[in-house]
Protein backbone atom coordinates (compact mmCIF):
# COMPACT_ATOMS: atom_id res chain seq x y z
CA UNK A 1 0.00 0.00 0.00
CA UNK A 2 2.70 2.41 0.97
CA UNK A 3 4.42 2.04 -2.36
CA UNK A 4 1.38 2.98 -4.36
CA UNK A 5 1.93 6.74 -4.46
CA UNK A 6 5.55 6.19 -5.35
CA UNK A 7 4.61 3.76 -8.08
CA UNK A 8 2.08 6.08 -9.63
CA UNK A 9 4.58 8.90 -9.48
CA UNK A 10 7.05 6.75 -11.38
CA UNK A 11 4.38 5.83 -13.88
CA UNK A 12 3.51 9.47 -14.34
CA UNK A 13 7.17 10.32 -14.86
CA UNK A 14 7.47 7.58 -17.44
CA UNK A 15 4.40 8.78 -19.30
CA UNK A 16 5.77 12.26 -19.17
CA UNK A 17 9.04 11.32 -20.84
CA UNK A 18 7.33 9.05 -23.36
CA UNK A 19 4.78 11.68 -24.28
CA UNK A 20 6.94 14.73 -24.32
CA UNK A 21 10.26 13.74 -25.86
CA UNK A 22 9.84 13.03 -29.54
CA UNK A 23 13.41 11.74 -29.65
CA UNK A 24 12.33 8.34 -28.35
CA UNK A 25 9.72 7.44 -30.93
CA UNK A 26 8.47 9.15 -34.05
CA UNK A 27 4.84 10.18 -33.82
CA UNK A 28 2.42 11.51 -36.37
CA UNK A 29 -0.99 13.11 -35.80
CA UNK A 30 -3.51 12.94 -38.61
CA UNK A 31 -7.14 13.98 -38.85
CA UNK A 32 -9.62 12.19 -41.09
CA UNK A 33 -13.36 11.62 -41.39
CA UNK A 34 -14.53 8.74 -39.24
CA UNK A 35 -14.47 5.44 -41.15
CA UNK A 36 -12.68 7.01 -44.13
CA UNK A 37 -9.68 4.69 -43.96
CA UNK A 38 -9.03 1.13 -42.71
CA UNK A 39 -9.56 0.74 -38.94
CA UNK A 40 -6.21 -0.98 -38.51
CA UNK A 41 -4.32 1.77 -40.34
CA UNK A 42 -2.33 2.76 -37.23
CA UNK A 43 -1.15 -0.81 -36.55
CA UNK A 44 -0.27 -1.49 -40.18
CA UNK A 45 1.58 1.81 -40.50
CA UNK A 46 3.49 1.19 -37.27
CA UNK A 47 4.44 -2.31 -38.46
CA UNK A 48 5.66 -0.96 -41.80
CA UNK A 49 7.53 2.13 -40.61
CA UNK A 50 7.87 2.01 -36.82
CA UNK A 51 6.10 5.36 -36.58
CA UNK A 52 3.26 5.86 -34.09
CA UNK A 53 0.09 7.17 -35.64
CA UNK A 54 -2.45 9.14 -33.65
CA UNK A 55 -5.75 9.45 -35.46
CA UNK A 56 -8.09 12.37 -34.78
CA UNK A 57 -11.53 12.50 -36.36
CA UNK A 58 -13.44 15.39 -37.86
CA UNK A 59 -17.09 15.30 -38.91
CA UNK A 60 -16.87 17.96 -41.60
CA UNK A 61 -14.35 19.96 -43.62
CA UNK A 62 -15.58 23.05 -41.84
CA UNK A 63 -14.78 21.58 -38.45
CA UNK A 64 -11.14 20.72 -39.19
CA UNK A 65 -10.78 23.98 -41.07
CA UNK A 66 -11.88 25.88 -37.96
CA UNK A 67 -9.44 23.99 -35.75
CA UNK A 68 -6.50 24.39 -38.10
CA UNK A 69 -7.03 28.08 -38.86
CA UNK A 70 -7.40 28.81 -35.14
CA UNK A 71 -4.16 27.02 -34.23
CA UNK A 72 -2.14 27.66 -37.39
CA UNK A 73 -2.09 23.91 -37.98
CA UNK A 74 -0.18 23.26 -34.77
CA UNK A 75 -0.72 19.73 -33.47
CA UNK A 76 -1.56 18.11 -36.81
CA UNK A 77 0.75 16.60 -39.43
CA UNK A 78 -1.56 15.25 -42.11
CA UNK A 79 -5.17 16.25 -42.83
CA UNK A 80 -7.82 14.75 -45.08
CA UNK A 81 -9.86 17.60 -46.60
CA UNK A 82 -11.90 18.26 -49.75
CA UNK A 83 -10.11 20.14 -52.50
CA UNK A 84 -11.60 23.64 -51.99
CA UNK A 85 -10.49 23.46 -48.36
CA UNK A 86 -7.01 22.25 -49.31
CA UNK A 87 -6.87 25.23 -51.65
CA UNK A 88 -7.93 27.67 -48.91
CA UNK A 89 -5.47 26.20 -46.40
CA UNK A 90 -2.69 26.59 -48.97
CA UNK A 91 -3.71 30.17 -49.69
CA UNK A 92 -3.61 30.83 -45.95
CA UNK A 93 0.00 29.60 -45.97
CA UNK A 94 -0.74 26.68 -43.65
CA UNK A 95 0.42 23.82 -45.90
CA UNK A 96 3.83 22.34 -46.65
CA UNK A 97 4.78 21.47 -50.23
CA UNK A 98 4.49 17.80 -51.22
CA UNK A 99 7.97 16.40 -51.82
CA UNK A 100 7.33 13.98 -54.70
CA UNK A 101 10.76 12.34 -54.31
CA UNK A 102 9.77 11.10 -50.85
CA UNK A 103 6.46 9.60 -52.02
CA UNK A 104 7.30 6.94 -54.65
CA UNK A 105 3.75 5.55 -54.53
CA UNK A 106 2.52 8.71 -56.28
CA UNK A 107 3.30 6.56 -59.34
CA UNK A 108 0.20 4.50 -58.42
CA UNK A 109 -2.07 7.43 -59.30
CA UNK A 110 -3.75 7.84 -62.69
CA UNK A 111 -2.01 10.49 -64.81
CA UNK A 112 -5.27 12.49 -64.64
CA UNK A 113 -4.84 12.74 -60.86
CA UNK A 114 -1.99 15.16 -61.54
CA UNK A 115 -4.23 17.49 -63.50
CA UNK A 116 -6.73 18.59 -60.88
CA UNK A 117 -7.35 22.29 -61.35
CA UNK A 118 -7.13 23.25 -57.67
CA UNK A 119 -3.55 21.98 -57.57
CA UNK A 120 -2.02 20.95 -60.92
CA UNK A 121 0.96 18.66 -60.36
CA UNK A 122 -0.11 17.95 -56.75
CA UNK A 123 2.15 20.61 -55.28
CA UNK A 124 0.40 20.82 -51.90
CA UNK A 125 -2.27 18.09 -51.95
CA UNK A 126 -2.55 14.44 -52.96
CA UNK A 127 -5.97 13.16 -54.11
CA UNK A 128 -7.43 10.31 -52.05
CA UNK A 129 -10.91 9.86 -53.54
CA UNK A 130 -12.86 11.57 -56.31
CA UNK A 131 -16.23 11.46 -57.93
CA UNK A 132 -19.34 13.24 -59.13
CA UNK A 133 -22.59 14.69 -57.78
CA UNK A 134 -25.81 13.72 -59.51
CA UNK A 135 -29.27 12.29 -59.05
CA UNK A 136 -29.94 9.07 -57.19
CA UNK A 137 -33.46 7.69 -57.63
CA UNK A 138 -35.79 4.71 -57.24
CA UNK A 139 -36.09 3.34 -60.77
CA UNK A 140 -39.03 1.16 -59.63
CA UNK A 141 -41.10 4.05 -58.25
CA UNK A 142 -40.51 7.07 -60.51
CA UNK A 143 -42.71 7.41 -63.59
CA UNK A 144 -39.82 8.51 -65.79
CA UNK A 145 -36.12 8.42 -65.09
CA UNK A 146 -34.51 11.84 -64.44
CA UNK A 147 -32.08 13.14 -67.06
CA UNK A 148 -31.65 16.80 -66.13
CA UNK A 149 -31.00 19.00 -63.10
CA UNK A 150 -34.34 20.59 -63.97
CA UNK A 151 -36.02 17.30 -63.08
CA UNK A 152 -34.83 18.07 -59.56
CA UNK A 153 -35.59 21.81 -59.56
CA UNK A 154 -38.99 21.63 -61.29
CA UNK A 155 -40.08 18.07 -60.56
CA UNK A 156 -42.88 16.06 -62.14
CA UNK A 157 -46.06 15.80 -60.04
CA UNK A 158 -45.33 12.29 -58.80
CA UNK A 159 -42.03 13.48 -57.29
CA UNK A 160 -43.29 16.56 -55.46
CA UNK A 161 -42.60 16.33 -51.75
CA UNK A 162 -40.45 13.25 -52.33
CA UNK A 163 -37.17 14.92 -53.20
CA UNK A 164 -34.17 15.91 -51.11
CA UNK A 165 -31.32 18.24 -51.98
CA UNK A 166 -27.89 18.40 -50.36
CA UNK A 167 -27.79 20.91 -47.53
CA UNK A 168 -24.10 21.74 -47.90
CA UNK A 169 -24.24 25.21 -49.43
CA UNK A 170 -21.81 24.72 -52.33
CA UNK A 171 -23.55 21.65 -53.71
CA UNK A 172 -27.01 23.04 -53.09
CA UNK A 173 -26.19 26.05 -55.27
CA UNK A 174 -24.31 23.87 -57.78
CA UNK A 175 -27.59 22.14 -58.71
CA UNK A 176 -28.90 25.50 -59.92
CA UNK A 177 -25.66 26.62 -61.56
CA UNK A 178 -25.39 23.36 -63.51
CA UNK A 179 -29.05 23.49 -64.58
CA UNK A 180 -28.41 26.95 -66.05
CA UNK A 181 -25.12 26.01 -67.69
CA UNK A 182 -23.18 28.32 -65.36
CA UNK A 183 -19.85 27.75 -63.66
CA UNK A 184 -20.23 26.06 -60.27
CA UNK A 185 -17.87 28.74 -58.95
CA UNK A 186 -19.68 31.84 -60.16
CA UNK A 187 -20.23 34.64 -57.65
CA UNK A 188 -21.65 37.06 -60.21
CA UNK A 189 -24.64 38.74 -58.56
CA UNK A 190 -26.96 38.20 -61.54
CA UNK A 191 -26.12 34.46 -61.56
CA UNK A 192 -26.62 34.21 -57.80
CA UNK A 193 -30.00 35.98 -58.02
CA UNK A 194 -31.18 33.75 -60.84
CA UNK A 195 -30.25 30.55 -59.04
CA UNK A 196 -31.67 31.88 -55.76
CA UNK A 197 -35.10 32.25 -57.36
CA UNK A 198 -34.88 28.77 -58.88
CA UNK A 199 -33.86 27.20 -55.58
CA UNK A 200 -36.61 29.01 -53.66
CA UNK A 201 -39.25 27.63 -56.00
CA UNK A 202 -37.58 24.19 -55.86
CA UNK A 203 -37.71 24.34 -52.06
CA UNK A 204 -41.50 24.17 -52.12
CA UNK A 205 -41.34 20.68 -53.60
CA UNK A 206 -38.69 19.33 -51.26
CA UNK A 207 -39.15 16.76 -48.56
CA UNK A 208 -36.00 18.04 -46.85
CA UNK A 209 -32.45 19.25 -47.24
CA UNK A 210 -30.26 16.36 -46.28
CA UNK A 211 -26.62 15.45 -46.70
CA UNK A 212 -26.32 12.58 -44.25
CA UNK A 213 -29.32 10.26 -44.50
CA UNK A 214 -30.68 10.87 -48.00
CA UNK A 215 -29.83 7.38 -49.24
CA UNK A 216 -31.76 5.74 -46.40
CA UNK A 217 -34.77 7.93 -47.23
CA UNK A 218 -34.53 6.47 -50.72
CA UNK A 219 -34.33 2.91 -49.39
CA UNK A 220 -37.38 3.41 -47.13
CA UNK A 221 -39.31 5.04 -49.95
CA UNK A 222 -39.72 8.36 -48.07
CA UNK A 223 -37.92 10.01 -50.99
CA UNK A 224 -37.98 8.92 -54.63
CA UNK A 225 -35.15 11.10 -55.94
CA UNK A 226 -32.26 12.77 -54.14
CA UNK A 227 -29.31 14.95 -55.05
CA UNK A 228 -26.39 12.74 -54.08
CA UNK A 229 -22.68 12.14 -54.21
CA UNK A 230 -22.11 9.02 -56.30
CA UNK A 231 -20.48 6.98 -53.53
CA UNK A 232 -23.40 7.65 -51.16
CA UNK A 233 -25.86 6.50 -53.81
CA UNK A 234 -23.93 3.23 -53.78
CA UNK A 235 -24.80 2.77 -50.09
CA UNK A 236 -28.45 2.92 -51.14
CA UNK A 237 -27.89 0.49 -54.03
CA UNK A 238 -26.42 -2.02 -51.56
CA UNK A 239 -29.76 -2.15 -49.70
CA UNK A 240 -32.12 -1.62 -52.63
CA UNK A 241 -30.89 -2.70 -56.09
CA UNK A 242 -33.64 -0.69 -57.83
CA UNK A 243 -31.81 2.50 -56.90
CA UNK A 244 -29.95 4.06 -59.81
CA UNK A 245 -27.50 6.92 -60.23
CA UNK A 246 -27.41 9.34 -63.13
CA UNK A 247 -25.24 12.31 -63.99
CA UNK A 248 -27.70 14.83 -65.48
CA UNK A 249 -27.09 15.81 -69.10
CA UNK A 250 -25.87 19.28 -68.06
CA UNK A 251 -23.00 17.63 -66.18
CA UNK A 252 -21.72 17.41 -62.63
CA UNK A 253 -19.03 18.90 -60.49
CA UNK A 254 -15.83 16.92 -59.94
CA UNK A 255 -15.12 16.62 -56.24
CA UNK A 256 -11.88 15.35 -54.79
CA UNK A 257 -10.90 14.60 -51.21
CA UNK A 258 -7.20 15.09 -50.64
CA UNK A 259 -4.37 14.61 -48.16
CA UNK A 260 -2.28 17.61 -47.16
CA UNK A 261 0.73 18.13 -44.87
CA UNK A 262 0.63 21.08 -42.47
CA UNK A 263 3.43 23.60 -42.51
CA UNK A 264 3.46 23.33 -38.71
CA UNK A 265 4.28 19.62 -38.89
CA UNK A 266 7.35 18.81 -36.79
CA UNK A 267 7.89 15.66 -38.79
CA UNK A 268 7.34 16.20 -42.52
CA UNK A 269 9.46 13.16 -43.36
CA UNK A 270 7.12 10.86 -41.45
CA UNK A 271 4.12 12.69 -42.93
CA UNK A 272 5.42 11.91 -46.42
CA UNK A 273 5.91 8.27 -45.41
CA UNK A 274 2.30 8.16 -44.24
CA UNK A 275 0.95 9.53 -47.53
CA UNK A 276 3.15 7.07 -49.38
CA UNK A 277 1.73 4.26 -47.27
CA UNK A 278 -1.87 5.34 -47.93
CA UNK A 279 -1.13 5.33 -51.65
CA UNK A 280 -0.17 1.66 -51.77
CA UNK A 281 -2.42 -0.61 -53.83
CA UNK A 282 -3.92 -2.36 -50.79
CA UNK A 283 -5.20 0.82 -49.20
CA UNK A 284 -6.45 2.07 -52.57
CA UNK A 285 -8.41 -1.16 -52.96
CA UNK A 286 -9.84 -0.79 -49.45
CA UNK A 287 -11.19 2.66 -50.28
CA UNK A 288 -13.05 1.42 -53.34
CA UNK A 289 -14.47 -1.68 -51.66
CA UNK A 290 -15.43 -0.07 -48.37
CA UNK A 291 -16.22 3.60 -48.95
CA UNK A 292 -17.51 2.80 -52.45
CA UNK A 293 -15.93 5.92 -53.86
CA UNK A 294 -13.78 5.98 -56.93
CA UNK A 295 -10.11 6.23 -56.15
CA UNK A 296 -7.54 8.16 -58.17
CA UNK A 297 -5.26 5.28 -57.21
CA UNK A 298 -4.92 3.25 -60.43
CA UNK A 299 -3.18 0.33 -58.71
CA UNK A 300 -5.98 0.18 -56.13
CA UNK A 301 -8.78 0.42 -58.73
CA UNK A 302 -7.20 -2.35 -60.78
CA UNK A 303 -6.93 -4.62 -57.75
CA UNK A 304 -10.70 -4.49 -57.21
CA UNK A 305 -12.96 -7.35 -58.36
CA UNK A 306 -14.60 -6.16 -61.59
CA UNK A 307 -18.06 -7.40 -60.55
CA UNK A 308 -18.21 -4.42 -58.21
CA UNK A 309 -18.28 -2.07 -61.21
CA UNK A 310 -21.28 -3.92 -62.61
CA UNK A 311 -23.27 -3.63 -59.42
CA UNK A 312 -22.24 0.00 -58.91
CA UNK A 313 -21.94 1.44 -62.42
CA UNK A 314 -20.87 4.90 -61.24
CA UNK A 315 -17.62 3.37 -60.02
CA UNK A 316 -16.70 2.68 -63.62
CA UNK A 317 -16.70 6.38 -64.56
CA UNK A 318 -13.23 6.87 -66.01
CA UNK A 319 -10.73 9.50 -64.87
CA UNK A 320 -10.91 11.08 -68.33
CA UNK A 321 -14.69 11.49 -67.94
CA UNK A 322 -14.27 12.94 -64.45
CA UNK A 323 -11.86 15.58 -65.68
CA UNK A 324 -14.53 16.96 -68.03
CA UNK A 325 -16.35 18.35 -65.01
CA UNK A 326 -15.54 21.55 -63.17
CA UNK A 327 -14.22 21.34 -59.60
CA UNK A 328 -15.63 23.42 -56.76
CA UNK A 329 -12.98 26.03 -55.95
CA UNK A 330 -12.51 28.23 -52.94
CA UNK A 331 -14.61 31.37 -53.57
CA UNK A 332 -12.31 33.83 -51.79
CA UNK A 333 -13.91 37.26 -51.54
CA UNK A 334 -16.98 35.99 -53.40
CA UNK A 335 -17.95 33.92 -50.36
CA UNK A 336 -19.87 36.80 -48.72
CA UNK A 337 -22.26 37.33 -51.60
CA UNK A 338 -22.54 33.57 -51.98
CA UNK A 339 -23.42 32.93 -48.35
CA UNK A 340 -25.94 35.78 -48.29
CA UNK A 341 -27.68 34.16 -51.26
CA UNK A 342 -27.75 30.82 -49.43
CA UNK A 343 -29.31 32.56 -46.40
CA UNK A 344 -31.94 34.05 -48.69
CA UNK A 345 -32.83 30.59 -49.98
CA UNK A 346 -32.90 29.16 -46.47
CA UNK A 347 -35.04 31.98 -45.04
CA UNK A 348 -37.55 31.87 -47.90
CA UNK A 349 -40.93 30.36 -47.15
Amino acid sequence: MKFKPLLSLAAAALMFTAGWSPAFAEKLVISNWDGYMPKDMAEKFKAATGIDLEIAVHATNEEIMGKVTASGGEGYDVLFVSSPFAEALNNLGLLAPIDHAKIPNLANLYPEANELKHDPGNAFSVPYTWGTTGLCYRSDLVKSAPTSWNDLLTPADDLKGKITMLSTDRWLMAAGFLADGLSVNTTDQADLDKVRDQLISAKRNLLAYDDTTFYSKLVSGEALMVQAWDGWCNYGITDQPQIKYVIPKEGSDLWADTMVITKASKNPEAAAKFIDFVLNADNGKWVVENIMYKSPNKAGMEAVDKSLFEKYPNMAITPAELLKYEQLRDLGNGMKAFSKTVSEVMAAK
Binding site: G66, A88, D210, S220, E222, N333, K336, M346
Partner: protein, 285 residues
Protein backbone atom coordinates in the same frame (compact mmCIF):
# COMPACT_ATOMS: atom_id res chain seq x y z
CA UNK B 1 -14.59 39.32 8.46
CA UNK B 2 -13.93 35.63 8.35
CA UNK B 3 -17.30 34.84 6.92
CA UNK B 4 -16.80 37.40 4.17
CA UNK B 5 -13.54 35.77 3.11
CA UNK B 6 -15.26 32.41 3.28
CA UNK B 7 -17.99 33.64 0.94
CA UNK B 8 -15.46 34.77 -1.64
CA UNK B 9 -13.43 31.61 -1.24
CA UNK B 10 -16.48 29.45 -1.80
CA UNK B 11 -17.45 31.46 -4.84
CA UNK B 12 -13.95 31.39 -6.31
CA UNK B 13 -14.21 28.14 -8.31
CA UNK B 14 -17.55 29.25 -9.76
CA UNK B 15 -16.25 32.71 -10.59
CA UNK B 16 -13.13 31.32 -12.22
CA UNK B 17 -15.24 28.88 -14.21
CA UNK B 18 -17.58 31.61 -15.45
CA UNK B 19 -14.77 34.06 -16.03
CA UNK B 20 -12.49 31.78 -18.00
CA UNK B 21 -15.07 29.77 -19.89
CA UNK B 22 -17.86 32.27 -20.42
CA UNK B 23 -16.75 35.88 -20.06
CA UNK B 24 -13.36 35.61 -21.77
CA UNK B 25 -14.62 33.64 -24.81
CA UNK B 26 -17.56 36.03 -25.17
CA UNK B 27 -15.21 39.02 -25.13
CA UNK B 28 -13.02 37.33 -27.75
CA UNK B 29 -16.07 36.79 -29.95
CA UNK B 30 -17.15 40.40 -29.48
CA UNK B 31 -13.68 41.62 -30.46
CA UNK B 32 -14.01 39.78 -33.81
CA UNK B 33 -17.06 41.83 -34.77
CA UNK B 34 -14.99 44.82 -35.73
CA UNK B 35 -12.74 43.08 -38.23
CA UNK B 36 -13.10 41.74 -41.74
CA UNK B 37 -13.23 38.13 -42.92
CA UNK B 38 -9.93 37.26 -44.61
CA UNK B 39 -10.12 36.33 -48.30
CA UNK B 40 -9.73 32.63 -47.48
CA UNK B 41 -11.51 32.65 -44.13
CA UNK B 42 -9.80 33.57 -40.91
CA UNK B 43 -9.66 37.19 -39.82
CA UNK B 44 -8.08 40.19 -41.46
CA UNK B 45 -6.77 42.13 -38.45
CA UNK B 46 -5.60 45.00 -40.66
CA UNK B 47 -8.97 46.47 -41.42
CA UNK B 48 -11.23 47.44 -38.51
CA UNK B 49 -14.79 47.94 -39.71
CA UNK B 50 -18.40 48.40 -38.60
CA UNK B 51 -19.70 46.60 -41.66
CA UNK B 52 -20.59 43.41 -39.77
CA UNK B 53 -22.81 45.33 -37.38
CA UNK B 54 -24.74 47.10 -40.14
CA UNK B 55 -24.98 43.84 -42.08
CA UNK B 56 -26.52 42.08 -39.07
CA UNK B 57 -29.40 44.57 -39.23
CA UNK B 58 -30.12 43.72 -42.89
CA UNK B 59 -33.87 42.92 -43.21
CA UNK B 60 -32.96 39.40 -44.39
CA UNK B 61 -31.29 38.53 -41.09
CA UNK B 62 -33.81 40.43 -38.96
CA UNK B 63 -36.55 38.37 -40.61
CA UNK B 64 -34.72 35.19 -39.55
CA UNK B 65 -34.50 36.57 -35.99
CA UNK B 66 -38.21 37.35 -36.05
CA UNK B 67 -39.15 33.92 -37.43
CA UNK B 68 -37.04 32.18 -34.79
CA UNK B 69 -38.62 34.36 -32.13
CA UNK B 70 -42.08 33.31 -33.29
CA UNK B 71 -41.18 29.61 -33.33
CA UNK B 72 -39.50 29.86 -29.92
CA UNK B 73 -42.47 31.89 -28.60
CA UNK B 74 -45.02 29.31 -29.72
CA UNK B 75 -42.89 26.53 -28.22
CA UNK B 76 -42.67 28.48 -24.95
CA UNK B 77 -46.42 29.04 -24.78
CA UNK B 78 -47.22 25.38 -25.39
CA UNK B 79 -44.54 24.22 -22.95
CA UNK B 80 -46.09 26.44 -20.26
CA UNK B 81 -49.60 25.19 -21.00
CA UNK B 82 -48.38 21.60 -20.77
CA UNK B 83 -45.93 22.16 -17.93
CA UNK B 84 -48.07 24.14 -15.48
CA UNK B 85 -50.81 21.54 -14.98
CA UNK B 86 -48.17 18.81 -14.72
CA UNK B 87 -46.22 20.75 -12.08
CA UNK B 88 -49.48 21.54 -10.24
CA UNK B 89 -50.48 17.88 -10.23
CA UNK B 90 -47.05 16.87 -8.91
CA UNK B 91 -47.10 19.53 -6.19
CA UNK B 92 -50.59 18.49 -5.07
CA UNK B 93 -49.85 14.75 -5.04
CA UNK B 94 -48.87 13.02 -1.76
CA UNK B 95 -45.34 13.93 -0.68
CA UNK B 96 -44.27 10.31 -0.90
CA UNK B 97 -45.05 10.22 -4.61
CA UNK B 98 -43.63 13.61 -5.61
CA UNK B 99 -40.03 12.47 -5.91
CA UNK B 100 -40.99 9.61 -8.20
CA UNK B 101 -43.12 11.90 -10.39
CA UNK B 102 -40.36 14.51 -10.65
CA UNK B 103 -37.96 11.74 -11.53
CA UNK B 104 -40.26 10.69 -14.38
CA UNK B 105 -40.37 14.27 -15.63
CA UNK B 106 -36.59 14.50 -15.95
CA UNK B 107 -36.09 10.90 -17.10
CA UNK B 108 -35.81 11.90 -20.81
CA UNK B 109 -32.60 13.78 -19.99
CA UNK B 110 -30.93 10.47 -19.31
CA UNK B 111 -30.98 9.80 -23.04
CA UNK B 112 -28.93 11.73 -25.57
CA UNK B 113 -30.72 14.66 -27.20
CA UNK B 114 -29.90 13.46 -30.72
CA UNK B 115 -31.25 9.98 -30.08
CA UNK B 116 -34.52 11.41 -28.74
CA UNK B 117 -34.80 13.65 -31.80
CA UNK B 118 -34.14 10.74 -34.16
CA UNK B 119 -36.84 8.79 -32.31
CA UNK B 120 -39.33 11.46 -33.38
CA UNK B 121 -38.17 11.00 -36.97
CA UNK B 122 -38.84 7.27 -36.68
CA UNK B 123 -42.34 8.04 -35.38
CA UNK B 124 -43.34 10.86 -37.71
CA UNK B 125 -41.74 10.26 -41.11
CA UNK B 126 -43.98 9.51 -44.12
CA UNK B 127 -43.27 5.77 -43.84
CA UNK B 128 -42.88 5.90 -40.05
CA UNK B 129 -44.83 4.27 -37.24
CA UNK B 130 -47.73 6.71 -37.05
CA UNK B 131 -48.30 6.93 -40.80
CA UNK B 132 -47.93 3.16 -41.25
CA UNK B 133 -50.53 2.64 -38.55
CA UNK B 134 -52.96 5.18 -40.04
CA UNK B 135 -52.60 3.72 -43.51
CA UNK B 136 -52.65 0.13 -42.26
CA UNK B 137 -55.97 0.78 -40.53
CA UNK B 138 -57.28 2.34 -43.71
CA UNK B 139 -57.80 5.73 -42.05
CA UNK B 140 -55.59 7.49 -44.60
CA UNK B 141 -54.70 6.71 -48.19
CA UNK B 142 -51.83 9.20 -48.31
CA UNK B 143 -49.32 9.71 -45.49
CA UNK B 144 -49.83 12.79 -43.30
CA UNK B 145 -47.07 15.38 -43.54
CA UNK B 146 -46.02 15.17 -39.90
CA UNK B 147 -42.31 15.76 -40.36
CA UNK B 148 -40.06 18.35 -41.99
CA UNK B 149 -42.34 21.30 -41.25
CA UNK B 150 -42.64 24.02 -38.62
CA UNK B 151 -45.09 22.18 -36.35
CA UNK B 152 -42.55 19.33 -36.16
CA UNK B 153 -39.86 21.80 -35.07
CA UNK B 154 -42.17 23.26 -32.41
CA UNK B 155 -43.07 19.76 -31.24
CA UNK B 156 -39.40 18.84 -30.88
CA UNK B 157 -38.66 21.99 -28.88
CA UNK B 158 -41.69 21.57 -26.61
CA UNK B 159 -40.84 17.93 -26.02
CA UNK B 160 -37.24 18.71 -25.14
CA UNK B 161 -37.75 21.69 -22.87
CA UNK B 162 -41.06 21.11 -21.04
CA UNK B 163 -39.26 19.34 -18.13
CA UNK B 164 -37.51 22.65 -17.34
CA UNK B 165 -40.90 24.34 -17.07
CA UNK B 166 -42.21 21.60 -14.80
CA UNK B 167 -39.22 21.90 -12.47
CA UNK B 168 -39.34 25.70 -12.31
CA UNK B 169 -43.08 25.87 -11.64
CA UNK B 170 -42.98 22.96 -9.23
CA UNK B 171 -40.40 24.72 -7.08
CA UNK B 172 -42.50 27.92 -7.13
CA UNK B 173 -45.55 25.93 -6.04
CA UNK B 174 -43.49 24.34 -3.28
CA UNK B 175 -42.58 27.73 -1.88
CA UNK B 176 -46.21 28.78 -1.88
CA UNK B 177 -47.56 28.89 1.66
CA UNK B 178 -50.72 26.70 1.71
CA UNK B 179 -52.32 29.01 4.29
CA UNK B 180 -52.91 31.66 1.56
CA UNK B 181 -55.08 29.23 -0.37
CA UNK B 182 -56.90 28.19 2.79
CA UNK B 183 -57.54 31.83 3.72
CA UNK B 184 -58.86 32.55 0.25
CA UNK B 185 -61.29 29.66 0.41
CA UNK B 186 -62.33 30.50 3.97
CA UNK B 187 -63.26 33.95 2.68
CA UNK B 188 -65.54 32.36 0.12
CA UNK B 189 -63.50 32.27 -3.07
CA UNK B 190 -64.07 29.35 -5.41
CA UNK B 191 -61.17 27.00 -6.23
CA UNK B 192 -60.84 28.63 -9.64
CA UNK B 193 -60.85 32.15 -8.18
CA UNK B 194 -58.22 31.08 -5.66
CA UNK B 195 -56.05 29.70 -8.45
CA UNK B 196 -56.46 32.79 -10.60
CA UNK B 197 -55.95 35.39 -7.86
CA UNK B 198 -53.60 33.67 -5.43
CA UNK B 199 -51.76 30.70 -6.86
CA UNK B 200 -51.04 31.96 -10.36
CA UNK B 201 -49.74 35.44 -9.39
CA UNK B 202 -47.58 34.00 -6.63
CA UNK B 203 -46.04 31.38 -8.93
CA UNK B 204 -45.52 33.88 -11.75
CA UNK B 205 -41.77 34.04 -11.12
CA UNK B 206 -41.58 30.27 -11.68
CA UNK B 207 -43.63 30.61 -14.87
CA UNK B 208 -41.32 33.41 -16.06
CA UNK B 209 -38.18 31.44 -15.22
CA UNK B 210 -39.43 28.31 -17.00
CA UNK B 211 -40.68 30.35 -19.97
CA UNK B 212 -37.41 32.22 -20.40
CA UNK B 213 -35.54 28.93 -20.18
CA UNK B 214 -37.57 27.39 -23.01
CA UNK B 215 -37.41 30.53 -25.12
CA UNK B 216 -33.66 31.04 -24.80
CA UNK B 217 -32.84 27.38 -25.45
CA UNK B 218 -35.29 27.23 -28.38
CA UNK B 219 -34.16 30.33 -30.22
CA UNK B 220 -30.53 29.20 -30.22
CA UNK B 221 -31.28 25.59 -31.12
CA UNK B 222 -29.96 24.49 -34.50
CA UNK B 223 -30.23 20.71 -34.29
CA UNK B 224 -34.01 20.42 -34.13
CA UNK B 225 -34.72 22.73 -37.12
CA UNK B 226 -32.15 20.70 -39.07
CA UNK B 227 -33.49 17.26 -38.21
CA UNK B 228 -37.22 17.72 -37.64
CA UNK B 229 -37.57 20.72 -39.97
CA UNK B 230 -35.59 18.98 -42.70
CA UNK B 231 -33.29 21.99 -42.87
CA UNK B 232 -36.05 23.99 -44.56
CA UNK B 233 -36.43 26.54 -41.77
CA UNK B 234 -33.45 28.54 -40.77
CA UNK B 235 -33.39 29.69 -37.18
CA UNK B 236 -30.85 32.10 -35.70
CA UNK B 237 -28.85 29.16 -34.37
CA UNK B 238 -28.50 27.71 -37.86
CA UNK B 239 -27.62 31.09 -39.30
CA UNK B 240 -24.81 31.63 -36.79
CA UNK B 241 -23.57 28.06 -37.18
CA UNK B 242 -23.44 28.49 -40.96
CA UNK B 243 -21.54 31.78 -40.72
CA UNK B 244 -18.89 30.30 -38.45
CA UNK B 245 -18.54 26.99 -40.29
CA UNK B 246 -19.82 27.05 -43.88
CA UNK B 247 -19.09 30.65 -44.80
CA UNK B 248 -16.06 30.79 -42.47
CA UNK B 249 -17.07 34.38 -41.77
CA UNK B 250 -16.27 34.53 -38.06
CA UNK B 251 -16.63 38.31 -37.75
CA UNK B 252 -20.17 38.27 -39.16
CA UNK B 253 -21.05 35.19 -37.12
CA UNK B 254 -19.78 37.09 -34.08
CA UNK B 255 -21.96 40.09 -34.92
CA UNK B 256 -25.06 37.88 -35.17
CA UNK B 257 -24.10 36.13 -31.91
CA UNK B 258 -23.72 39.47 -30.14
CA UNK B 259 -27.14 40.56 -31.37
CA UNK B 260 -28.68 37.32 -30.12
CA UNK B 261 -26.88 37.52 -26.76
CA UNK B 262 -27.98 41.16 -26.40
CA UNK B 263 -31.62 40.25 -27.01
CA UNK B 264 -31.42 37.36 -24.56
CA UNK B 265 -29.83 39.59 -21.90
CA UNK B 266 -32.69 42.05 -22.26
CA UNK B 267 -35.15 39.22 -21.83
CA UNK B 268 -33.39 37.81 -18.77
CA UNK B 269 -33.16 41.32 -17.31
CA UNK B 270 -36.90 41.83 -17.80
CA UNK B 271 -37.58 38.49 -16.20
CA UNK B 272 -35.35 39.30 -13.21
CA UNK B 273 -37.12 42.63 -12.68
CA UNK B 274 -40.52 40.98 -12.96
CA UNK B 275 -39.65 38.29 -10.46
CA UNK B 276 -38.12 40.82 -8.02
CA UNK B 277 -41.30 42.85 -8.22
CA UNK B 278 -43.47 39.81 -7.65
CA UNK B 279 -41.43 38.95 -4.59
CA UNK B 280 -41.65 42.52 -3.33
CA UNK B 281 -45.44 42.42 -3.61
CA UNK B 282 -45.42 39.10 -1.86
CA UNK B 283 -43.39 40.53 1.04
CA UNK B 284 -45.71 43.49 1.37
CA UNK B 285 -48.83 41.33 1.21
Amino acid sequence: MNSRYATWLLMLPGLLWLGLLLVVPCLLVFALIFFERGIYGGIDWQAPTFENVTRAFDPLYLAIFLDSGIIAGIATLIALLVGYPAAYAIAKSPASRQTALLFLAILPFWTNYLIRTYAWIVLLNPVGLINSLLMGLGLRSQPLALLYNKPAVVLGLVYSYTPFVILAIYSALQRLDPSYGEASRDLGASAFQTFLRITLPLTAPGVAAGGVFVFVLSIGNFVTPDLLGGGKFQMVGNLIYDQFLSARDWPFGAALSALLIGLMMLLLFAQAIASLRARGDHARA
